[in-house]
């Protein structure tokens, strides 16, 4: 039991590559738990400040364009589908189809970041910077509006970093796929990255209504 049919060897401390795969996915799930807990800190901050300053959040959300947010939601949901499809194609041994889907996923990630860039630019243009750099004091109704934008930039910024990380990881598995390192019985890395990507998607699904659709 040192090798399996696909021709890949497994590390010496596992019984089989299936055993190794299970352990790997277990690890990824645990990692996702830590990610959720990390974001939960921000969600708690959101809940507290929303409780204290509901009017600030109401004013803040009007500066955000829900159409761009919705567009990004659709992009990410679609990319989750293509990510899942690429894993499916690897399992049925269709590396080419899998590769196309991976590339579409990266493209979606890029699209998401471009939309984010446009949104950020619009905020900066109006002086809606986070914290100290906030300069739009004259036009606003509530004096703690900067706090809303601090939250907005922290939450979407941290999420954006995750999108970029996810794109990098998908690029990495795409390269490995091209080298022929994955097969129907050996795709732990792709599945792990896929799970990560779904989480990034899931977090956005929470961020979108919380920030863009406050009322």
């Amino acid at each position: 039991m040192s090798t399996v049919s696909s021709g890949h060897t497994h590390a010496h401390h596992f019984e089989s590559s299936q055993h190794e795969h299970k352990a790997g996915i277990h690890g990824v799930w645990l990692f996702l738990v830590t990610e959720i807990l990390m974001f939960s800190g921000l969600f708690v901050a959101y809940a507290i400040f929303k409780g204290v300053y509901p009017e600030v959040f109401h004013e803040g959300h009007r500066y955000l364009d829900w159409r761009l947010g919705a567009l990004n939601t659709v992009i990410l949901l679609f990319s989750s589908l293509t990510m899942a499809l690429s894993i499916h194609y690897i399992r049925v041994n269709k590396p080419k189809a899998a590769m196309i889907n991976l590339l579409i996923t990266i493209a979606c990630g890029l699209g998401f970041m471009i939309v984010k860039y446009i949104e950020y630019n619009a905020k900066f243009h109006h002086g809606l910077y986070p914290g100290h750099f906030f300069t739009a004091h004259e036009h606003i109704e509530h004096k703690n509006l900067a706090l809303f934008f601090s939250l907005y930039f922290c939450m979407t910024g941290l999420h954006g970093i995750h999108v970029l990380t996810g794109m990098g990881l998908i690029g990495w598995v795409a390269i490995r796929l091209k080298k022929g390192e994955f097969g129907p019985h050996h795709y732990t890395a792709v599945e792990g990255v896929g799970l990560f990507w779904h989480l990034v998607d899931l977090i956005w699904i929470y961020l979108f209504p919380l920030l863009y659709l406050v009322s």
Binding site: L30, E35, L37, P130
Partner: protein
């Protein structure tokens, strides 16, 4: 059979490079040991300097500015670089896979990566000294931490990075425990050390991310002024305390649970008797881990949180005492009708129970609302957590080092000298920290560079005690180095222990087990 299995792990691969690129959990464990002992050395020097400054009222040789930085460095180094990684990353790495009958942890590369993250984090934290210094205390309370020296950012970032090392180590251990147990090694047959490391790993995975985001927000607060913790921007400085303690209270159990695991092993081995109440000890670890997430507010009884919150936190905090009491009584019951030998590891185990009992009951004082109002942030708290962290965790770590030293290096240390180290550390510890309980009750606040003359005699005793501890640890260093160089061969099982690591040669072969062990009974079958 003259292939690679016959070389032990210390000689499997030669040169520094083979160590820096090793995937062997035993070598990584030793690399943690070297790093942690180095940090401990510096943290200890800082502690001695603090005590020396406090020997008399007024300024002796450190101005308040210097004192506050030394106090902060002592706290941050000891907490983030010594006590949190101390047992899990060092002894846990070395022992855990062997205890399970596995050849390595689940993700060896991740394991090595965690070590490098830890070192990187430690270096970033240490660079705070160069980039303007840090004087916030290890708790980084806002708004002070937002206003003071720029070095704070580096210290906070360093702690943030080291947090990831902790998360990844915990994750690795959880998967290892779930997936890599030898055939027949069911969860109710794993050694109790595994249960404690496992509970610790759960806390590491669940709580550390919250610290990560908290520290990140603190960095953002300093660099961008996001205002979450700044009252003038609509934020709330006390929110930081909630976030911080949501991690840092469970972190207290990251520090103590592995120590409890070591004590379980030591008490059993040196009483040569099956453990009393395996299930209760195992589940009490999980119980402590679970409750640990619900008690953070007891650090904030006078911070202005609502009286109702204080009441809830006080009652839940009391619950932690129950599983702790179970453990203590079960250890003592294990000794009942045993065959007890007081070798140096057991001396430290007994020392642990003595000091931890005091540390534990003083925790009850602090959990009591009205009493805490008076004792909060006084030297009583300082003494309490040193009794738990030093009297608990460090005593257990020392016991663990002596216990597994023959396994790690295949050699015995000088037993007589080892017992003298115990005497020095144990006595020195009590002389140093017991007077601090009294100083605290009398009202001496913590983090004071100077104090009113009434407290002088207590502080003088305390400082003298600190020299004994210092001498004790220096002697430990000598005992270990001498054992390493001139120790007699230890043989596979010098203590007559029953767990799996003692069934293989000392030092263990590169792959731990030449044939996978098959387990057919509990871990401590002394019949």
């Amino acid at each position: 059979m003259a292939h690679e299995h016959s070389t032990d792990y210390l000689h499997h691969g030669k040169g520094l490079w083979s160590w820096l690129t090793t995937l062997d959990h035993k070598r990584i464990g030793l690399m943690y040991m070297i790093a942690i002992l180095t940090f401990f050395f510096f943290g200890g020097i800082f502690a001695l300097l603090i005590r020396l400054e406090l020997m008399h009222p007024g300024t002796q040789f450190m101005s308040p500015t210097v004192y506050n930085q030394v106090m902060t460095l002592h706290g941050t180094m000891m907490v983030f670089m010594v006590i949190i990684p101390g047992i899990p990353a060092f002894l846990g790495n070395f022992v855990l896979p062997i205890h399970l009958g596995a050849k390595d942890v689940a993700f060896p590369r991740l394991n090595l990566f965690s070590w490098y993250i830890f070192i990187a984090g430690a270096l970033i934290a240490a660079s705070a000294v160069v980039f303007g210094g840090v004087d916030t205390g290890w708790t980084f309370y806002t708004p002070y931490s937002i206003q003071t020296y720029k070095g704070t950012v580096f210290m906070v970032l360093g702690a943030f990075v080291m947090g990831f090392s902790s998360i990844l180590t915990g994750l690795n251990f959880i998967v290892t425990v779930h997936k890599l147990r030898a055939p027949g090694m069911t969860m109710n047959r794993v050694p109790l050390f595994i249960w404690s490391i496992y509970s610790t790993a759960i806390i590491q995975v669940l709580a550390t991310p919250v610290l990560a985001i908290t520290l990140l927000l603190l960095v953002m607060e300093r660099t961008l002024g996001i205002g979450f913790f700044d009252a003038s921007l609509g934020g709330d400085p006390v929110l930081f305390q909630h976030f911080f303690w949501f991690y840092s209270h469970p972190a207290v159990y990251i520090m103590i649970l592995p120590a409890m695991g070591i004590i379980s092993e030591l008490v059993v081995t040196f009483s040569r008797k099956v453990v009393f109440g395996y299930t209760a000890i195992a589940y009490s670890s999980i119980g402590i881990a679970a409750v640990s997430f619900l008690v953070w507010g007891h650090h904030m009884f006078v911070s202005g949180q609502s009286e109702f919150a204080g009441k809830i936190f006080s009652f839940i905090t009391m619950l932690v005492g129950v599983p702790t009491a179970i453990k203590m009584f079960n250890w003592v019951s294990t000794m009942y009708k045993g065959s007890i030998r007081m070798d140096s590891p057991m001396l430290f185990a007994v020392g642990f129970m003595f000091l931890f009992a005091i540390g534990g009951v003083t925790g009850i004082f602090l959990a009591t609302l009205s009493i805490d109002v008076h004792l909060h942030d006084t030297y009583f708290v300082v003494a309490h957590f040193h009794y738990v962290m030093v009297g608990g965790t460090l005593m257990a770590l020392m016991g663990g080092i002596y216990y597994w030293f023959p396994k790690m290096f295949g050699k015995m240390f000088n037993e007589t000298l080892a017992r003298i180290t115990f005497a020095l550390i144990f006595l020195g510890f009590n002389i140093t920290f017991f007077p601090q309980f009294i100083a605290g009750v009398q009202g001496m606040p913590r983090r004071y560079q100077d104090y009113i003359p009434e407290y002088e005699w207590l502080n003088r005793i305390s400082t003298i005690g600190s020299w004994l501890i210092g001498a004790g640890f220096l002697l430990v260093l000598y005992v270990l180095i001498q054992g390493l160089r001139k120790g007699k061969p230890a043989g596979p099982n010098p203590w007559g222990a029953k767990t799996l690591e003692w069934t293989i040669p000392s030092p263990p072969p590169h792959e731990n087990f030449t044939t996978t062990p098959v387990v057919s009974g509990g871990p401590y079958e002394y019949r």
